[in-house]
């Protein structure tokens, strides 16, 4: 192995190697799941476990491989990348490849471990479900897609992985597509992500065009060495990439899809919508961190702003949710807000550290919730309660997850959240710091609420809940261990190995927040957590909510806003979807009535008719009219509008083509 030395800002000299043969074969990790998915598709149903064994075996291999990589990385430090040229578009080389460094190894490990546990869990959880084999195909496919994403050394591969992950998410959210809600949730997730992806795509194109390369390492090199071409577009590209990240990582206001995505089976929620997929945005930001830090600093402020908004708003909504999985979903959104805000504040390690711990305890919470749901056949906390006695294992692991999330020492969340708070404090973002503390309080509060309503008090549901069997509880226990202990890898002053891991990469992190215990932040965070737990316990256990399942305190107007999720969905419908539909329809109808019909009536003959369109265009008469119509919106043509709201493909196509033709004519003959 070849050893290289680099200078790090904080740690002095870091030694890393090229990883040797182990790194060379990382592509196996990426390719294996796809082959496995293919095998499951074709041969799955005839196998004794209906294809689950292949999925499990694949993931186990991935996990073991990532474990080996992790060991290598901890002992030696690895940073290397590999490229395969598959073709070119113009001057761009289309390259695929894999990157082996601290960041990606950390992600391999998280994906491998959580996926393995979730797969084990799912073999039991999904037993007897509809499309069991298909489920494992998609899940395996997802693992592969996620690995494509995190292993990508080029932007184009990131984009491909990004889309693949989105598709798998769509498949899995809509797993029970027979119920329309589920399929529309899948659709919603897909479309929301697509909107964000446009940002990502444009960002990638801008970066690629200005740097002349698709390789991330080269772009980062250019960014850190003040290449003028990239400097000009840094802010725009940074924001656009962040928009992409906002979609996947469910940042306000594009977070709306994640809670609905809970329509998928619980293992899916645990794996994708808590632990891995949603962190793709954070991963992207982290991967591009030198770029942000070096030349797109302004963009980081925006990142931080959205992160903080997300962490607060999502946390508030979580308080009023009755659906256990939705509480966890909003909690996830909120925690993602923490990570994004941390990145925004320049705390590269802190963000990734939170990603690392969060993956374990949130997966744990989701799997615990799944175990509960499996037992009571309902998602609603109103139909739970008193499960402590019947499901002791689930309860105890859930409690560990809860305190880890609430940030009590010595559990994982304590260390990671504290580091984020500390970095806010360090950066001098006082307002955001206090909001984050408030967020910690809210987090502790709603998690206590959830625990009280679910496990304490009396059972309010129907049927007879029972403890899940060992196939489901074993992953819970393993995850509980990680939820408790995964924070110990980065205790400032004691052992900061994690920092070293994630900063070991080809493009060094020039500057990052150094770890040290910020006693002020630590105290405030801990207090907020304890307060939240206390208040929650008081309100829900001592006041007896846990018995009835009601919220005893309700500040009506606020509750209403929260329950309606700040009316964001309604806003989208009212101000974006409907207007486009209505006004476009009106505009085109007006165009039809006023322009086309008139011409037809006036001239009839096609040739002369076309001539007049051109003439009128030049005259600007028709165009003026159209513009007027579309801007005035509501007027006397309303009666005919219905005709255009048919949902018919042809009419949409007609609108599209009409637009294309108009624009082309405009460009050709007028401009």
């Amino acid at each position: 192995m070849v050893k290289t030395n680099i200078n790090l800002f904080a740690e002095g000299e870091v030694v890393y190697t090229d990883g040797g043969v182990l790194a060379e074969f990382v592509w196996v990790l990426v390719v294996l799941p796809f082959i496995a998915a293919l095998i499951i598709t074709f041969a799955g149903k005839s196998l004794p476990l209906k294809g689950a064994e292949i999925a499990l075996g694949t993931i186990a291999i991935i996990f073991i491989y990532s474990l080996a990589l992790m060991y290598l990385h901890v002992t030696e430090g690895v940073a290397n990348e590999f490229f395969i040229n598959v073709g070119n578009i113009g001057q761009f080389d289309i390259e695929f490849g894999w990157v082996v460094d601290g960041l990606s190894i950390m992600m391999y490990f998280v994906v491998g471990l959580v996926a393995l546990l979730v797969f084990i869990y799912a073999t039991n959880y999904m037993e007897g479900e509809i499309r069991y084999t298909f489920f494992f195909t998609s899940l395996t496919l997802f693992a592969g897609s996620m690995l494509v994403l995190v292993s990508s050394p080029t932007l184009i591969q990131i984009l491909i992985g990004w889309e693949l992950v989105g598709v798998c998410s769509y498949l899995l959210i809509g797993h029970y597509w027979e119920v329309k809600d589920n399929s529309s949730a899948a659709m919603k997730a897909f479309i929301t992500n697509k909107i964000a992806d446009v940002g990502l795509m444009i960002g990638i194109i801008i970066l690629a065009l200005n740097t002349g390369t698709m390789r991330i390492s080269e772009i980062l090199y250019q960014a850190t060495h003040d290449y003028p071409a990239i400097k000009n577009v840094a802010f725009v590209a940074g924001v656009l990439l962040f928009i992409g990240a906002m979609g996947k990582s469910a940042q306000f206001p594009l977070h709306v899809w994640l809670p609905d995505a809970m329509a998928g089976p619980t293992p899916v929620s645990a794996l994708m919508h808590a632990a891995t997929m949603v962190t793709a945005g954070v991963y992207l930001l982290a991967r591009m961190f030198p770029f942000y830090q070096g030349i797109a600093n302004e963009a980081l402020d925006i990142v931080m702003l959205f992160g903080v908004i997300t962490l607060l708003t999502a946390g508030l909504i979580a308080i009023v949710q009755d659906d256990l999985k939705k509480v966890l979903a909003y909690s996830t959104v909120s925690q993602l807000g923490y990570m994004v805000a941390a990145i925004g504040s320049g705390a590269y390690t802190a963000a990734l550290f939170h990603l690392w711990t969060h993956a374990f305890f949130k997966a744990l919470l989701f799997l615990g919730a799944g175990s509960v749901i499996h037992a009571v056949h309902s998602n609603s906390m109103l139909e739970m309660g008193g499960l402590r006695k019947v499901m002791p294992k689930t309860f105890s692991t859930f409690i560990i997850g809860t305190v880890a999330l609430a940030g009590l020492p010595p559990f994982a969340g304590f260390f990671s959240k504290d580091e984020i708070l500390a970095s806010f404090n360090h950066e001098g973002e006082t307002t955001f710091f206090f909001i984050a503390v408030l967020g910690a309080f809210i987090t502790a509060f709603y998690m206590t609420r959830a625990v009280c309503l679910t496990f304490l008090g009396e059972y309010r549901g129907h049927g007879h809940p029972h403890e899940s069997d060992s196939m489901m509880t074993t992953p819970l226990v393993v995850l509980a261990v990680f939820a408790a202990a995964s924070g110990w890898v980065n205790i400032p002053g004691v052992y900061t190995g994690f920092t070293k891991w994630v900063t070991t990469r080809k493009n060094p992190i020039i500057e990052y927040h150094p770890e040290s215990f910020d006693l002020f932040a630590l105290g405030l965070g801990l207090t907020a957590g304890l307060l939240g737990i206390g208040l929650g316990y008081y309100l829900y256990q001592l006041q007896g909510s846990a018995e009835t399942g009601d919220d005893k305190i309700k500040i009506e107007p606020i509750w209403k806003v929260l329950e309606n999720k700040y009316y964001i969905d309604d806003f989208y419908f009212k101000f974006i979807i409907d207007p486009i539909k209505l006004n476009m329809a009106k505009a085109v109808d007006a165009f039809n009535t006023n322009v086309i019909d008139r011409f037809v009536n006036g001239f009839g003959q096609l040739a002369s008719f076309m001539g007049v369109i051109v003439y009128n265009n030049i005259d600007q008469n028709g165009i003026d009219k159209v513009l007027n119509m579309s801007s005035t919106g509501t007027d006397s043509f309303g009666g005919k509008v219905k005709l255009l709201q048919t949902g018919r493909t042809q009419q949409y196509l007609m609108l599209f083509l009409g637009g294309v033709v108009t624009i082309s004519l405009l460009i050709l003959f007028i401009i």
């Binding site: 509809i130 369109i613 007609m654 033709v661």
Partner: protein
């Protein structure tokens, strides 16, 4: 090459008239058969432009296979025999014609202004060379094509298969 041009114009005219028939006839089967002629004339045009192999591929795949698929589709969807008065969306006719017409004018304008040249054909283009290029320079798309075809096959089968079978099998 006087005769060559005359024949070309003749073919183009025939091509156009059959294509018009494809989109205007009110008999579904007639439209499909008109498309056969459109494609056959296109193949003749390709032959005249010396691209022998492509012309034959057009005949083999399009006329020999795709049209058959179309005919199956038409028969399965129970298109009525004879004229079908309800084949067109009369509401869309004017606007459609307008849009199509403007696209035509637009394209013609661009094409006539943008391209001019002459062709001199000395021999048919070599299929051997075509194969060599296809399997060396375009090997990646070539392999991708197999995936596209596989996807189309599986997709088509999944869609066209009776749904009850799908559900029975998957409720493991």
């Amino acid at each position: 090459m006087e005769i060559f041009e005359i024949v070309t114009y003749f073919v183009l005219l025939a091509l156009l008239s059959t294509a018009i028939r494809v989109v205007t006839t009110s008999n579904v089967i007639h439209a499909a058969i008109s498309l056969v002629f459109t494609l056959a004339l296109t193949a003749i045009l390709f032959l005249m432009l010396s691209t022998e192999f492509v012309a034959l591929v057009l005949v083999l795949v399009y006329i020999g296979a795709v049209i058959v698929l179309f005919l199956f589709g038409i028969m399965i969807t129970r298109a009525p025999l004879g004229k079908n008065a309800e084949l067109d969306n009369d509401k869309n006719k004017k606007l459609g014609a307008a849009i199509a017409g403007s696209i035509f004018l637009l394209f013609s304008y661009i094409l006539i202004n943008g391209f001019d040249g002459d062709v001199t054909i000395t021999s048919g283009s070599s299929t051997e060379l075509l194969g060599e290029i296809l399997l060396s320079r375009f090997v990646f798309p070539f392999e991708l094509v197999s995936f596209v075809l596989l996807a189309a096959l599986i997709g088509g089968i999944t869609l066209a298969r009776k749904d009850e079978a799908l559900i029975d099998e998957d409720q493991v």
